[in-house]
């Protein structure tokens, strides 16, 4: 009987997990944490003279202006192969402000030697409602040869 009771409590706890989600509170961000985070140490674009610029991490999102970096957080970055073996990158942003944020994003694709396999995609506008998420998708033309990608983000331009 006791075992059944424990089982029932455990099952109840599992079912209760979704109810513990933060549903009625707007998202809060700590932009400083995102800014201070260290590089994962993976592949990166490095200048001929390495100290000439900070490395640009590959398979990651690169913000190109501070204004945007103070307002938007990258929540998730995904990459997958399509049926034709091209690469689709998906990035989900969170608008940390109480105003609508418009950003432009583009992706670049590279082979194993970091040589561009094609031109970068055109800048694509993503509109983020206040305190809400928004998704950017980029598709490569290159297929098997694509090994690295980079998503660049800037404040939207007219």
């Amino acid at each position: 009987m006791r075992m059944y009771l424990l089982g029932a409590i455990a099952a109840g706890a599992l079912l209760a997990v979704p109810a513990q989600a933060r549903e009625n509170r707007p998202v809060k961000c700590d932009i400083g944490d995102a800014k201070r985070s260290l590089s994962a140490g993976g592949p990166a674009l490095v200048a001929n003279v390495p100290s000439a610029m900070t490395p640009i991490d590959l398979n990651a999102v690169q913000m190109t202006d501070k204004k945007l970096a103070n307002r938007v957080v990258v929540e998730g970055m995904f990459a997958r192969r399509t049926e034709t073996n091209s690469v689709e990158v998906i990035t989900r942003f969170v608008n940390c402000t109480k105003k609508t944020v418009e950003l432009d994003a583009r992706s670049s694709f590279m082979d194993e030697n970091q040589v561009p396999t094609e031109d970068s995609t055109y800048w694509k506008k993503v509109i983020l409602a206040p305190k809400a998420t928004g998704v950017y998708r980029g598709l490569s033309i290159g297929r098997d040869e694509v090994k690295y990608y980079l998503v660049e983000v800037r404040t939207s331009q007219p």
Binding site: E83, S86, G138, I141
Partner: protein, 212 residues
């Protein structure tokens, strides 16, 4: 004291003024000179319709989408595609040369496909037929690629529509337009649509721009 007639005085005054104002006039003239612009950026004259910067962006999006479609770009035998503006209907309120859309798309797609698709020209088929007739009549030789029984039949054709939704505030002069370019790949044997790509432009502005 040198005495000058009024006409001469006016002439001297005019030359003097011209010398002083010369650089200013020249500067003003330079402001009217043509300037080179990035075709992928918004131009100096812009309105609410389809513009130069949209063409490359739209074609890039469509090409990447088409290249990820296995039915079209992953076949053992490359499909033959007709990509011209003959079945692209402009139902929008903007006057536009439809060829500029299909030419941009075909150019980018040919560059990206690299043999994974074949493009059949029907726009210039008269030139092909004329040359074939000359070869078969013995007026010219057979060239270097040999003769074929017939010209290429196509598997797919790009079809589509340009539509728009316009609104205007007569008090402020502000106008807004949603333009939708919807392209589809039509199977020319079976009649099914194997791909669809949609590009939307929504713009508002008060500038009185004429597209022609």
């Amino acid at each position: 004291m040198l005495k000058l007639r009024p006409v001469a005085k006016a002439a001297i005054l005019g030359v003097g003024l011209a010398m002083v104002a010369g650089p200013a006039i020249a500067k003003k003239d330079r402001s009217h000179q043509a300037v080179d612009l990035d075709p992928d950026q918004r131009g100096v004259v812009s309105g609410v319709g389809i513009e130069g910067q949209d063409l490359g962006r739209m074609a890039d999006q469509m090409v990447r989408d088409l290249m990820a479609n296995p039915e079209i770009s992953n076949r053992a035998t490359p499909p033959r595609i007709i990509l011209d503006s003959s079945d692209l209907r402009n139902q929008s309120s903007q006057r536009i040369d439809k060829d500029i859309i299909t030419d941009e798309l075909r150019g980018k797609l040919m560059g990206a496909a690299r043999g994974k698709m074949r493009f059949v020209s029907r726009e210039f088929i008269a030139a092909v037929e004329q040359e074939r007739a000359l070869k078969r009549d013995g007026v010219v030789d057979s060239g270097t690629t040999g003769l074929t029984r017939a010209t290429a039949g196509a598997d797919y054709k790009l079809v589509g529509k340009i539509t728009s939704l316009d609104s205007r505030n007569n008090d402020t002069g502000m106008q807004e337009r949603l333009t939708v370019i919807s392209l589809e790949m039509l199977d020319l044997e079976y009649g099914t649509l194997v791909w669809n790509g949609t590009y939307k432009i929504r713009r508002a502005g008060a500038d009185d721009v004429v597209y022609r």
